[in-house]
Symmetry: C2
Subunit: 510 residues, 2 copies
């Protein structure tokens, strides 16, 4: 107390000051207990990021109201106290709109929440009773601050560009465009490029026009073909960069056939010179900026992937998911083959791949689903070095949209799921034409809010499918709407969200 | 030549190398002649920024095709050679879309170009023959690189926030909201705030909701009331910041009545604490960022102001324009009363205020128009110190939309303008009801593309209008569409664009 100046005592009064110091002490104690996790959430192929984050927040803030989190230790062991939303860390990042998403899920008829654009954040303060901590006798609770950052999967897929020259990137992207399923749509664009002399003086208007065509192609790849590898990612969600030259470049075919010196010496105002400088600028101003401002700060990453839609769409769509996975893994493996050296690496120590929409197949298919996801990842694992990163795979449903059961089919019990189809009645009929249950078995009790159907969508292959699988096309899954009657103040039904929480945050709550 | 290594000679060949060195020499010479100007263009009250930039570029790149630039010395003296668009400096800034703007102006029927959102850039390379330079015997041409940066007037109006605390800003903004014309619209919002205890723990959802209401108010002020002072400017054009907490604050009434200590010690999670910290974050992340990344780089500034709409709208709208002008002048005056000290000041040395839409009044009114604009500015001048900044005022029309002439009215020749009204036929009738020419004098030869009318819109006051002016409401101007038959490859008709160019760039072309 000798150190406290008289003026301070005068300012606060002695009692007030004593309380302030006491609070300070408590605060210090609490800080030693408190934990902080920055969880990054991203997804491939419309995997349901928004539904996932909404469910994760919902499970934690409504804990106690119909909770089903028995595999999440802090809840199972009774250490979990409560969680609430608190103001996020970065004021200039849009807030994840939890309320709108919950409104969509709990409206009648229930809808899937609108997808997010770009990056958003949400912070949870999770109170718990530390059990195994060094401070187990402290009466104080501890708080885990969980920062959730939601960002587009395309931004993650852009990271490998940091290691590529324009020539290398151009070659890789051009290769993709020459093959099915992109080739058919890319033909006329590539034909236009073939007519251009790369060393001629560039017209900005022509560059802008071709870049617009290339962006339109990326939209087709993403939305019509359901592909995962969309580069550069910012082209389909430009935000404030719309109309900026940094988004006006594209791969140029056959760069490898050019003389190396000619390419290097191409003037800045030539066609190829301008493409090259804009590519470099994109890498610096967009990709590296995301890396430095966000990616470096992430502690844990979950990558959501919808494996079912690519299985539905066919061989090429599935191969594209495979490619996307291997591109993503580059960012988490360190050393020679990885993207970043350990020294400048992100600090991510846990990486979860979750196959979403597990409720869209019958429960006994979850095993094959995870096995398939493991194959997608592990085929790369031997060449990568995950020294410090724990990797896990799970088959989940963020918000369960079906009920499962058994149905008699030709005298035998077969597993089925029942839900409200998202497609219109006519579309459902054609969709389910290939399914293993004949049409007459589908319970077509049409509701006012859509089509309620019971279906066996088929078996998920537990290995990367071979050609004969694609020829038999035995798998056909249907998009379901959320179940009706969900409640804002109750926990949403889910599949394995407790295991997600266990892997991602339970070790920070001991 | 002794210094040139053998390997270089081998690489390029001797002849190539000689040419390279020669080019280098030319380049050095050219660089000593070359000039660079960064011209910032902004506007108040839908003043026609897009039309202005389009016309400026058009006049320069089409010089020779119907040019009317006799007051622009480089053209008048024959020193001007040619201008062309070249790639802009900053790749991450959207490009000003000249082509779309020209397409709108030259379509049938002709339209005004769509307004720009946020910032955009365009670069011109202007070739000229230096006449008075120290190098007048050089056969080489010189190039003036003109970087045009277009940004919203609201961003300029945000700059004074850099010097204000949240309390000060809140007080100033609240004062405005209590007075006409804002009061009527602000009432219910202010009533909600009055019920809030500023020291209570804030709910983020409530803050978000109130901020949304405040943004809606700003939109009303801007678009319904035609007001100029809109703060914070980013609230009405949020771009990538949409939904971010940094845009979720607002002025809080009666902060000055709070105890200073209480206010200072308000915890960060209290209502007032959160408003304060978001205001500070907005200043740092938005206002200071604009200041550092753009404003500091500007060499010259043109502020476009539509004085006619406020004259039409009435006393309060005009007073708001006055306030906006005085806020803008703060950023260009240095020393005690100015916003920036000369040390950290922007380098702007010329500041042009242009009253736009001069073609919307009869030519003899241009004098009073400039006199009025001078009054708007000079009333502040005595308290400001413009040591290093040259200020000028002009009445201009970027793209002339009317033809002027004389018309007989009650046996007397009176000046009139003729053009195609933007309003629909019925609206025109009511619009022109107050004009000095009686209805029967209006030439109503309805065209397929709108309503062609001849009108005398009234006299512009050459002094800041007094109360009796507003009571007589003798002024009523009509919005005109662009003239038809404009051509992309010809110079657009204009009023005093040559004087604009003379002031802004002629001194860099000698």
């Amino acid at each position: 107390m000798a150190l406290i100046s008289k003026s301070l005592i005068k300012k606060y009064g002695l009692d007030k000051l004593k309380n302030k110091l006491k609070d300070k002490g408590k605060e210090l104690l609490r800080h030693t207990l408190d934990q902080q996790v920055t969880l990054a959430v991203t997804g491939l192929s419309r995997s349901g990021k928004t539904a996932f984050i909404t469910s994760l927040v919902n499970q934690l803030i409504n804990e106690g109201s119909g909770t089903k989190l028995s595999f999440f230790d802090p809840v199972h062991n009774g250490n979990f106290i409560a969680a609430k939303r608190v103001p996020q860390k970065h004021f200039h990042v849009p807030r994840f709109d939890y309320d709108s998403a919950m409104s969509a899920l709990t409206s009648e008829p229930a809808n899937w929440p609108k997808p997010t654009h770009g990056i958003s954040e949400l912070r949870l303060a999770i109170r718990y009773q530390p059990k195994n901590s060094i401070l187990k006798y402290a009466t104080d609770m501890a708080t885990l601050t969980l920062d959730i950052t939601d960002y587009p999967g395309e931004w993650l897929l852009d990271l490998p560009m940091l290691k590529q020259t324009y020539q290398e990137w151009s070659k890789q992207t051009h290769e993709l465009m020459k093959k099915a399923p992109r080739a058919e749509y890319s033909k006329s664009f590539l034909a236009k490029l073939a007519k251009i002399d790369p060393f001629s003086t560039a017209s900005e208007e022509l560059l802008a026009q071709l870049a617009q065509e290339y962006s339109a192609l990326l939209h087709t790849f993403r939305h019509t073909l359901g592909l995962s590898v969309i580069q550069p990612g910012r082209f389909i969600l430009p935000g404030d960069l719309a109309g900026a030259p940094i988004l006006e470049f594209f791969p140029f075919p056959a760069l490898e056939e050019l003389d190396g010196n000619d390419y290097q010496n191409a003037p800045d105002d030539s066609f190829i010179g301008m493409l090259r400088s804009r590519y470099l600028e994109y890498k610096e101003q967009v990709v590296r900026k995301f890396y430095q401002e966000h990616f470096l700060r992430f502690d844990r990453q979950i990558v959501l992937a919808d494996c079912l839609t690519p299985l539905n769409k066919g061989k090429e769509s599935f191969a594209d998911l495979e490619l996307a996975m291997s591109m993503i893994l580059q960012s988490y493996s360190y050393g020679k083959s990885g993207l970043f050296s350990r020294l400048f690496s992100p600090k991510i120590d846990k990486l979860l791949f979750a196959a979403t929409k597990a409720d869209h197949v019958t429960p006994e298919q979850h095993g094959p689903m995870v096995a398939l996801l493991n194959q997608l990842i592990h085929q790369n694992k031997h060449q990568l070095n995950f020294e410090a990163v724990k990797v896990k795979t799970l088959a989940i449903a963020s918000v369960k949209a079906t009920n499962s059961g058994l149905s008699k089919h030709k005298g035998k019990d077969i597993p089925v799921i029942q839900g409200r189809s998202l497609a219109k009645a006519s579309a459902v009929n054609s969709n389910s034409a290939n399914s293993n249950i004949s049409h007459s078995d589908v319970d077509e009790s049409t509701e006012i809010f859509g089509h309620k159907i019971t279906v066996f969508p088929g078996a998920v292959p537990s290995q990367l499918p071979k050609d004969d699988y694609w020829q038999s096309s035995s798998f056909n899954f249907i998009d379901f709407a959320p179940l009706s009657g969900l409640n804002k103040h109750q926990c949403l039904p889910h599949v394995r969200m407790d295991q997600v929480l266990q892997f991602l945050i339970a070790d920070k709550m001991i």
